[in-house]
């Protein structure tokens, strides 16, 4: 039961956080200059976007949920089952970021979900 609770918290906050970070990155635009100073300036510019901070907060919540799961389950179980976030991610990307998800991508995400189910069934 606690595995399920922490996994739900991890998937929702992790996917929400990544969607917020993606939205912030798209606002900044594509990076072409990969020199260290340019990257530092890019990072500072990213931190001035509100969506970035919301994303970081949600990802921090996901991080502590991950730590909690890792304290009572194996890494080889915890990390694969978090792939459930792919379904949530594709759905969120289509709804909030207006990305066009092709049938082939949906099919791939569905296969990933089958894999997650198999890993879940392998639980001790």
């Amino acid at each position: 039961m606690r595995e399920f609770l922490f996994l739900t918290l991890l998937v929702i906050s992790g996917t929400g956080g990544e969607l917020c970070v993606t939205h912030a990155m798209k606002k900044i635009g594509e990076v072409h200059d990969f020199r260290p100073l340019a990257l530092v300036k890019f990072m500072l510019r990213a931190l001035r976007v509100g969506w970035m901070w919301l994303g970081i907060a949600m990802m921090a919540l996901a991080f502590f949920s991950l730590l909690a799961m890792l304290s009572f389950e194996n890494v080889s179980f915890v990390v694969p089952v978090t792939a459930l976030s792919y379904a949530a991610g594709a759905l969120g990307a289509a709804i909030f970021l207006r990305e066009r998800i092709s049938a082939q991508r949906w099919f791939g995400v569905a296969i990933v979900c089958v894999g997650v189910t198999i890993v879940w069934l392998s639980r001790r």
Partner: protein, 141 residues
């Protein structure tokens, strides 16, 4: 043509970074949390004690450093590629996590679990054959 090749090269290079540093970070976190232990009754005092142990763990900090490296690579690639492409593509990290868990942590991984991880990778392969961008290109930074 040349621009497209460069576009794909930098995308694949950063996804390779993501696929290595994310699993390494997770394995180090797993090692750290295994040493810290699990909460028994989630009482505030017990949770505070665990948080203190987490902060004092070298494995946790190494894991965080590895995940930060992953995060920077992830942010960079998201400035030009779709989220719905990057996220599943980077899930090759799940197979790497299984291998690192087996060799570095000595975890026993059942054939069923390996099958599940392999199916996840198959799903990643299917997603990876779709174009990296489906939305309009934004002005360069």
């Amino acid at each position: 043509m040349k621009e497209a090749a460069g576009f794909h090269f930098k995308t694949y290079l950063l996804i390779a970074f993501i696929a290595f540093f994310a699993p390494l970070g997770n394995v180090l976190l797993g090692k750290g949390m295994h040493n810290v232990g699990s909460a028994k009754n989630w009482a505030p005092r017990e949770v505070l004690h665990i948080l203190g142990s987490i902060v004092a763990s070298g494995y946790i900090w190494l894991g965080i450093a590895s995940l930060l490296t992953f995060f920077v690579a992830y942010m960079l690639v998201l400035t030009w590629a779709d989220y719905s492409y990057v996220q599943p593509s980077s899930s090759f990290a799940y197979a790497v996590t299984g291998v690192l868990s087996y060799f570095l942590l000595g975890e026993t991984i059942s054939p069923l679990r390996w099958l599940g991880i392999a199916v996840i990778c198959l799903g990643v392969f299917v997603v990876g054959r779709t174009p990296p961008r489906t939305t309009e290109r934004l002005p360069a930074a």
